[in-house]
Amino acid sequence: MRRKSSLKHLRKDWILYLMLLPGMLYFIIFHIIPIVNMKLAFQDYKIIGDNVWVGLKHFHLLFSSPAFKDVLTNTVIISTMKIIFIFPIPIIVSLLVNELRFGPFRKYVQSISYLPHFLSWVVIAGIWISLLNPVDGGANVIRNFFQLPSLDYMTSKEHIRWVLVYSEMWRSAGWDSILYLAAILKINPSLYEAARIDGASTLQQMRYITIPSLMSTVITLFILNLGFFMSAGFDQVFNLMNDSVLSVIDILDTYVYRIGILNGQYSYATAASLFKGVIGLILILGTHFLSKRITGKGVW
């Protein structure tokens, strides 16, 4: 009975399936097939003929490779630095912007601070390489003003990770504050009125009303950020990388690019990708359920 009615629907709604077809073809060809093809991690790639199954060979190679250990360490260090030093900044920005009255200055702050988000990492790399120029870059102008010697940040192993942190902060501090600002605007204004009548200062209102109301957004976004932990910002590293600092900022994705796309070790690189994907999946699913337990809201 049910089956019959489904079949009837199928015939009646053929136009519906026709409309769905291009989208589904796209997802199957460009998403599902490359995911299924990641079985290549368990095979040897052959240019001619079928790939040969080799079990965990490439994973054994991967985990015994010192290069892979370095890359993994760099990824973890860079992601951790970014979470510790960048994550709180948009929250602070949103709290500060919220204190501004609606008017031209508030509009100016928002328009300017969102701008870098819309620039590509190629453009941002160009701007930052110029800013950090060892001879006359802006950063060294400031250093010299304080009687400090000039530094070549871009080729310094000691400083390059901080360049990643600061340039990411420069790009996203403004834009990432939007979601917090949206959450703040949803807070019931009568709370503030009551606090003002009780004589609460700006700082006290922030401390006892705004920040507690923001907590669920903070937790959701923190967890979402953890989900991208293994990525550590490929586009950024890819464009700010140079040979002198490769050893300290080479991350999983740049490693996959180099050994896979450039050197053609497809199976080995796919094994590294699969490792990253599985860890990322565990983090995302884990944080999704954690988020559901803490805030009652999933990540999606």
Binding site: H9, P22, G23, N37, V109, L115, V123, S130, T202, L274
Partner: protein, 292 residues
């Protein structure tokens, strides 16, 4: 009633300094590109006013056939890519949001799975190779033909269109395709404009897939060429094929300024659209709660 508040003044100062930190590096690049090449070394790394004024850097860049071609390539990829994005996203969103069909649940589950697990860049590259799409614009455009996040945003928008409108059309005998093209699309113009901006910004800024999929430099978009100049510091391409280039002229040029001018050219379309972007992106991000 006006009253002076110490903490508000401090907050304004902090935020003003913050905007300066964002603006000065940008304006410094602009000042460098507009400075007289003979005087650009007088410009401080924090300077925002050009030393002298000259458009020579832009003239050189605009007379480099390689760069001109890349600008054209970027415009082409952005326009064709965005049109395809909008068409595919809208038609898929309509079917998923407004109709019932066998297998819909499965499709939605698969879409969420796609959001959570990305394929490897290696298998994506090999797929393009197997499909013989390497070195064609199709690879760059098809790679992100539908963004699942944007698809969900549009589905949410479509779901809010009142049922009564669609029912009326159905009674008049309109099929799904007619309802989609003649009712849904016109009603969703603001949402579609938002998505067009989302996708347009993505295409204009895209460089990585173009780098690995397009081996012929004549097919490169501007971002890849820019990367060649500022990241790889390849100055020969910057001047290759520029008409009227003499050793005397070359001696007066400043490579930093030429690179800056290329950066400015790559940013200009974004700046022109920025008022629209601000309006739609801010709204879209706040409504959708999606970060991208």
């Amino acid at each position: 009633m006006k009253h002076f508040s110490m903490s508000k003044t401090i907050i304004q100062c902090i935020l003003f300094l913050f905007t300066l930190a964002v603006l000065i590096p940008l304006l410094n690049i602009l000042a460098m590109s507009l400075s007289d090449p003979n005087r650009v070394n007088e410009l401080s790394g924090l300077g925002v006013i050009p030393k002298g004024f000259s458009l020579i850097n832009f003239e050189i860049i605009m007379s480099n056939p390689f760069i001109l071609k890349s600008i054209f390539n970027s415009v082409f990829i952005t326009i064709v890519g965005t049109l395809l994005n909008i068409f595919l996203t809208a038609i898929t969103a309509y079917v998923l949001a407004r109709t019932e069909f066998v297998g819909k649940r499965l499709v939605l589950v698969v879409l969420i799975a796609i959001m959570v697990f990305e394929p490897s860049m290696i298998t994506e590259y090999l797929l393009m190779k197997d499909l013989h799409l390497l070195n064609s614009y199709a690879a760059v455009i098809l790679y992100k033909a539908i963004n699942v996040y944007y698809l969900f945003i549009l589905m949410r928008f479509f779901q809010e269109v009142p049922n009564s409108i669609l029912e009326a059309a159905k009674i008049d005998g309109a099929g799904h395709f007619r309802i989609f093209t003649q009712i849904m699309l016109p009603l969703s113009k603001p949402a579609l404009a938002t998505l067009a901006l989302f996708y347009g910004v993505y295409h204009w800024n895209e460089y990585f897939r173009a780098t690995i999929y397009l081996s012929d430099p004549n097919k490169w978009p501007l971002q890849v060429v820019l990367r060649q100049f500022v990241v790889t510091q390849d100055n020969t391409t910057l001047l290759k094929g520029v008409e009227g280039m003499t050793p005397e002229l070359l001696a007066t040029l400043d490579f930093g300024s030429l690179q800056s001018a290329t950066i400015v050219v790559a940013v200009i379309p974004m700046l022109l659209l920025y008022p629209l972007i601000l309006k739609y992106f801010t709204k879209g991000t706040m409504d959708g709660g999606v970060k991208e």
